[in-house]
Amino acid sequence: MDMLQPISGVPALVAMVGKVLAVFTATMLVVAYTTLAERKISAWIQDRSGPNRVGPWGLLQPIADGIKNFLKEETMPATANRFWFVAGPMLSITPALVTIAVVPFAAPLPTPWGVVDMIVADIPIGILYILALSSLGVYGLVLSGWSSNNKYAFLGGLRASAQMVSYEVALGLSLVSVLMLAGNVTLTQVVWQQQEMGFWFAFPLSLGFILFLISAFAETNRLPFDMPEAESELVTGYHTEYSSMKFSMFFIAEYSHMLTASALMATLFFGGWDLPGAWDNAFWHEGMLIAGFDAAGAPILAQPAWWKTLLTLAGFGLKTVFFLFLYIWVRWTLPRFRYDQVMSLGWKVMLPTALAYVMVVSATVLVLDLLEVSYGFTFGLVLTLVSGLCTVAFLFFLDSDRIISGASVPYRQDRPVRMPVTQVDAGAPGLSGD
């Protein structure tokens, strides 16, 4: 029994520092190898070899890139604002690296000194901390864009700020539906509620997941939402003037944002470290590590084990890596949006849909409570059906092309007016009719 107490005293301090350093190192390593994976996967998609000269299969490429960037000359425009030019990359990289701290990454690990939670900081504000820090990241972008005194960089910074604040609203609203089912803002509780329900939230909250996925792509400035650094329009946007390690810092920031977003998608909608089945369930409930409740409502104690921790860690890693792969896959699949399309998608589609979805989910949950359906499999099944209907309706509506105009000519402006045949120049490449 005393094995199942939370760790305390000096071992707890050691565990805390160890976890911080381990997560920080892991983040940097994953970021480094995601850059290689991106190049390898893009090569694979485009049917070429990709980097394969530095080390076996190019595995030492990120290290070579790092050394190269370290030794390259740093440039700074003479007209730049020196202080903010230097501070910009730091403001960008710091929030990017600390956001992952509230994500639980494995089942609790039993040690001779007590049970160690596999999370850096299980703070009571959980999701709110993530929302706060993800919006801090925009300061780095907009300040570095402004301080460069370069028109491309400035426009990139402005675009970044407008785009990120627009999609943050939809991101926050899609999280609200998760909070309704979790009943708490800590991510450990979100994972636990998914274990309790027997459903990963991606099913009962399918539309919420789709909204979160789209907003996460926009928040990380990845294709198809990479307007702030659209090469064909803005050189490279807000980091046009940056070279050497200052450029690398923006790069690390972008990739660790991707990592955090992937880890969040895995945690909020795909059970986090939870694997199918109840064997790995574990949650701190009134000082006891429990695996669930029996029919009478009495808690069942959990049986933590090191192999369960390892397996769940691997499961969490796999889910996160899948979403990182999805990021890269989408990048080489979809073309870039136009900026007005980005903004109308954010304000005219995502925001109203997310608002309506919040109300639909809350009404469904309250009706289920009224019918005294207990929180569990049936509960999840009904929500899955309702959300599935919403998702189909949403995708059908998006596909109808009414809100986001496809061409430079505003859509269907020419439809109501039937042009007389005599006025149509048969030789001209026509915008008339489609």
């Binding site: 939370p6 805390m16 976890k19 350093l21 920080f24 370290f70 390259k72 000359e73 740093e74 440039t75 425009p77 003479a78 007209t79 730091m90 990289i93 710091t94 690296l97 600390v98 701290a101 939670d117 850096v120 900081a121 703070i123 009571p124 709110l128 402004w146 005194n149 370069n150 028109k151 491309y152 960089a153 400035f154 402005l158 700020s161 407008a162 604040v165 627009s166 943050e168 609203v169 926050g172 609203l173 609200v176 909070l179 309704m180 009943g183 708490n184 050189v235 003037e241 050497s244 390690m245 200052k246 690398s248 903004m343 005219k348 608002l355 109300m359 809350s362 009404a363 949950v365 409570d369």
Partner: protein
């Protein structure tokens, strides 16, 4: 178990040290050979015309204002969402009124053209 904020402080410390360390180290290590051309902002090889700090489109301000309204709405929704099942239908009706009022605002802004980007 809800833990303390101490590990976050350590992680913040490590991250800030990392950022400052990279900046200082590169400043020491790498060469600096400025030329007038190199010190110019890169605007596709053109000599920059005029200063960047000029007026820019009002639409970005519009987005910022809309953001404040709807981000605050999200934050008001969070406590209700967490306590929703305890608050029951009373809470639902109250929140529906709140959402309807804000939706009316959104519709008004939309019809006024505040969300148009062209």
């Amino acid at each position: 178990m809800s833990g303390s904020y101490a590990p976050l402080l350590i992680l913040f410390g490590v991250s800030i040290l990392n950022a400052v360390g990279i900046a200082v180290a590169t400043h020491i290590v790498n060469p600096r050979r400025p030329t007038p051309q190199k010190d110019m902002p890169y605007e596709s090889g053109m000599i920059p015309l005029g200063d960047t700090r000029e007026r820019f489109s009002v639409k970005f301000y519009m987005v910022a204002i809309s953001f404040i309204v709807f981000d605050l709405e999200t934050i008001f929704l969070v406590p209700w969402a967490v306590g929703m099942r305890g608050l029951g239908w009373g809470g639902f009706v109250a929140m529906s009124l709140f959402v309807v009022v804000l939706t009316l605002g959104l519709v008004y802004e939309w019809k006024k053209g505040g969300l148009e980007w062209d």
